[in-house]
Every structure is written in C-alpha cells, then in structure tokens.
C-alpha cells in the first residue's frame, strides 16, 4: 500500500512525483491551469526550481510547465 498523505504542490522536492487531487487556485489562473493540464488525477513531477528559488519547473502530461510557489501552494496533491 502506498502511504497516501495529502499535501500541497509546493512541498514537492526535485525528482519527487505526485498526483493532483484538487486545484484551489482562484480567478483567471484557475482556468489557465486547467487548460495546461493541471486537473485532478494528473501526475506531476518537480523537475527543478529556478536559479533564484522560484518559480518551479514541473513535468506534467509529458511536457514542462512552470508556475510560482504561490499558485503551487494552492494545488493539493498525494505524493506517489
């Protein structure tokens, strides 16, 4: 059994993978994130942080998507 524990996307470390459970981001960014594939059930991996620590480079649906920690902290995940 996997140890399933809900947390937020910004806590992921480089190389770690997770599955998105809920997107709590509001406003126009919400729809944009959906459009880019950040939907519940999608698998996501943190590839790296930007050199200054923020934003982050994630791999999702086979491509690289970059978002800030601020938005990542409102996206809920289960670590895989």
């Amino acid at each position: 059994m996997l140890d399933i524990q809900e947390t937020t996307l910004d806590t992921l470390k480089p190389g770690e993978k997770a599955r998105i459970t809920k997107v709590r981001v509001k406003g126009a960014a919400r729809r944009k994130l959906f459009d880019m594939g950040m939907v519940a059930g999608a698998d996501i991996e943190l590839v790296r942080n930007a050199p200054l620590g923020d934003p982050m480079d994630y791999r999702i649906k086979g491509y690289h998507l970059s978002i800030r920690k601020e938005e990542a902290s409102q996206i809920f995940i289960n670590r895989l």
Binding site: D35, G37, V39, P51, L52, G53, D57, K61, G62, E71
Partner: protein, 665 residues
Amino acid sequence: MEKREIKIALTGNPNVGKTTLFNALTGSRQHVGNWPGVTVEKKSGRVSYKEYDIEVIDLPGTYSLTAYSMDEIVARDFIIEEKPDVVIQVVDASNLERNLYLTTQLMELGSEILIVLNMCDIAEERGDRIYIEKMQELLATPIIKTVATQKKGICDLLDKVIAQKEVEQHHGHEIGYGSEIEDKILEIEKALSEDENRDKRYPLRWVSIRLLEGDSNVKRKISDSPVYGRVMEIIDSIDQEEYEAEIADKRYLAINTIFPQMCTRANDTLTKSDMIDRVLTNKYLGIPIFLALMWGAFELTFAFATPFMNMIDIASTWFADYVSSSLQPEWLASLVGQGIIGGVGAVLVFVPNIFILFFLLSLLEGSGYLARAAFIMDKLMYKIGMHGKSFIPMLMGFGCNVPAIMAARSIEDEKDRLITILIVPFVSCGARLPIYVLFAGTFFGRQAGTVIFAMYVLGIVIAIISAKLLRGTIVKGKPAPFIMELPPYRFPTLKTSIIHMWDNGFMYIKKAGSIILVGVVVIWVMASFPWGVEYGSEESYVGSLGHAVEPLLKPLGFDWKISVALIFGLVAKEIVVASMGVLYGSGDSSEALSERLLADPGITALSSLSLMAFSLLYMPCVATVGVIKKETGSWKWTMFAIVYGVAVAWITAFVIYQGGTLLGY
C-alpha cells in the same frame, strides 16, 4: 478560368511549428496587420493550388479557447464568425495529450478540423509510437504527417484540404460531461433557443458550456438578449468553480480514454532538451550564462548595426544637402532637406538596430531560451511588481525603446503589459549615449565613465520606482500568475527569424513613420519661421519657445539654448547634441563644441549633470511616442507617458541642480 476560393485557418499551441508551416504555405505572399480593435497580430496569405485560390489565416497560437487572453478570443471569434472552410490544427506529436485539449475545443466549435502532426521525428527519437490510422478513426478527422519545410508535404496537405472542403463531412464528435452538467447544458440551450434574434453562428451547446465555465466574454455577447435573465438564473444556481474544474476534467478524461489506443509513450527518458536545461537553468550556472548571453546579444547588435547606421547617416546627410541645394523655392528646399530628410534620417539611423534586435529575439524565441529567460528572472521581476516576461522588453530598451515596447506583446496580461510599456522609456537607449558622452566628456574629465554609468543606473532606478508607483495607484493589483510552458530546445529556423525581423522592422517604419514625419515637420516649422531667420536661431519660433519655457527650466539650471536643444531632442534624443552644435555655431566638430560649452558661463558641471538626467527621462522620442500609441491603442496612455516622463524628469533634474547648489557645487 475562374478560380475557386477556399479559406483555411491555422491554429495550434504555441511552439508547435505553426509559423513555419504558414511560411511554407504562403511564402512571400503574406500580409501582416492587426485584428480589428486589438493589438493581436493578424497574418494572412494566399496560395494558388490547382484550380483553387486558397486564403490562409494564421490564428494566434493558443493552448485553449477559453478566453484567458485576447489571443484566444480573437482565434475563436474568427472560427465562429468567419467560418473558415477548414481549420488546420498543427499538433506537436511529442506532446500529444495537451495538444489534443485544443482539439476537443475546436470540435465543440463545430469546425471542420484537419490535423497536421508535426515533430514526429522528436517523438520517434524519444521512443514514442503513434498509430496514425487509429488516431484518425478515433478523432474522426484526417491526419497528415508533415515535415513542414518539404514541398511534398505541403502538396499532400493542400490535397487533403481540398478533399475535405468538397466532401463537407460532419463529425458528430462530442464530449459528454456527465448527467448533472449535461442537464444544465440542456436547460441553458433551451432558454437560449427561445431568443429568435440570437447570433446563430454560435453553436448553442458551445455557448451553454462556455457560460457554465463562467466565460465573461460570452456572457457579454448575450447580455442584450431577452432571455439573459433566465440564463443567468440557471448559472447563479450552480457552483461555478466546481463546474469549471469538472468540465476541464472531463475533457482530459476523454483524451485519456482514447490516448492509449493511438500512442504508446516511451518511459520518461532524459531528452537532449532536459540535458541542456540541466546546464542553462542550473542553480549556479543559470544566471551567469543568462547574463553572458544577453551581453553577447548586445555586442552582436552593435557590432552588426554600426556600419549600417553610419551608412544611413552619411547617405541621409548627403541626400539632405543635395536636396537643399538643388530644390526651389528656398523654403521647400529647407523643408524637404533640413526638415523631412534630416529628421527622418535621424530616426532611420536606428532601423538597423531594430532589425537586428528583432532577429536575435526571434532566434532566442525559436530556440526556446526566451521562456527560460522569463523563468530565471521572474522572481526578481516579481519583487518590483512585474512579470518575468517583462524582463526581455526592458533589456531590449537599452538598444532602442521602440522594439522593446513592441516586444512587450508577448506579455498576456493587459496590466503587466501596460506597465512594461510605460516604464521602458526610462531605460537609457543607444540614442541617449551621445548626449552623455558630450557633456560628461566636457565637464567631468576622468570621471566621465562613472557619470555615464550613473545615468544608466538612474534610468533603471526610475523605471523600478515607477513600476512600484503604478502598481500602487492607477494600475492596481499584483503581477499575473506565472503559468508558462518551457518548450523543448530546438534549432530556430533562419527563414522564420528573417521573416519575423522584416515584419517587425517594417511595422516600425510604417507605423512610427507617420508620426515621425508629423513630428519633424512641426519642428522644422518652428525652427524656420518667421521666414528669413536663421534655422533654429534665437529669433525663430523655437527660439521664442525656448525663451518662453526658460523660466520653467531655470530651476534646473537650463537657459534658452538648452531648452531649444531639448525641444529638438524630441525627434530623436541624440539630436540634442547636433542642435547644441547649431546653437553654439560650432559646426560638426565636437571638440569645438566642447570648448564653447566650457567657455559659456551659463552651463556648469552641475547643470550639465542635471541636463543629462533630464534628457534621459523627459519624454519619449517621437518614434517611441508613435509606438506607445500603436501598442496601447490609446491616446490617454500615450499622453500619460509624455506628461509623467516630463514630470519625473523635472523633479529629478530639480533635485540634482538645487541639491547640488545647496551643497556648494
């Protein structure tokens, strides 16, 4: 024989090779303009093939059609309202899932879709396998594998387009959103259909789904309808955020159900692009490499541009002299020679700069590095109230403010973009350097280098303060969220970069040109009248104006001569130097001018410092004003840029001059 007309629209995600395909299709028969009312670029072209005359419209690259940005609204309105015969979606085979998301939305719009599968080589190299036959069957659309630059691929594509146009097949491919949402869709459809005068080009189901997703653009479109109130009642009864999530989920779910049947993806192996990123966005190396690349781009710009700039300068001077001496009557000779050719020439000198900056920008964009630049700089930019994407336009500003403001188009958020446009003019462009060189060289001797550097820093500081100020007052709010694809690194295509360079370079000449022309004629009239006075002398209107504004500029340490030079500098800032030459009667020799400046008691080291700061900030040159007008589409913001610039310049110069005087300099 009369040719038959076909209209096709090109659509697709950004970075999928759409522009390359467009260029391959239309060649040089392109027309670049703007979509009506917005600053989104519209490209169209024509191609004759067999007995058909095909019009190709290149829609803006978008990930979706959900009205997140102006690009998306433009693209979907075109598809709905103009009803192109065939909509070609260019799809990146190495990134199928996300690309198909747009496909699901195109299908909902009820358009005839044809898919062009690009980048198959990258997908195959990675070990992916795509079953095109199966994909064709599942999506019920024709699919063509192309290598966009090859002639054969293009002919195949055009054959398929014609076949699809002639067959008029209708695929009833729809995504089901589950019973709860479907019920609401039906309810809204029913309410909408009772309005007999509705815009029937818009599919009812599509409008209903958009409304459930909270699309304000579509809401506005039906706001005049008699059934608006009823529709809003239905929408207010739902948890709109939940619906939005559910609808997106269902679209991806639909993709996920068919996806494994048409593609097997290799395990996530480290691609070449990933390896490049390990270095270029490395924690320690990322920033040094970025700075080195930017520095290199500037060196290259100036190295390449300088000989061309000199040639244009020499040619326009010669031409102006030639016209002045051969044209009759005298006033006409002066207007055309000194006024128009001289003035326009002074601005045209920057054309090589602009062309090269755009060429390099296009190379950076095509390679995928531009996205990394925003990624690397975002944190720093965010701290000053700006978006990572604003960094490149600001940096380009050091070369020339004009292409810098045009480059701000890549910023989606209107507020982020507006702030960028308004603060770019404070970035010290190449044209301001000759002013610093003259005055710092004349009055500061060995400290000249430090003084010039301080001017660049001053510009940056004022830009940052202005950004903060604007964010806190008239352009309230935080920078837009950073949600950006980091596309795989690729070799940029030379043809695309060259076309990009021409398009933007000519846009500058054409659009800014008309305002420049008006500007130089006004300045010429002011410098030449009343007729008979020496050009730009104390007795001319500009001399009188110089005297008139002298009281305003006196607290900054400027006399009427400097005031006149500053008025001339509105055409292009480096003209300040040339007009000082005229006013001091020193001709073209800068040494003679230096000597006369030193001998003039009206100008001191302190007032020259104040003058340098004032020239840096006071008002964008006419070309920049022209481009601000064009890019903001608003006289209000253009006037604001001018007034704000003058105010900031006055205050800064006042502080320098009066502060310095108090300190005893």
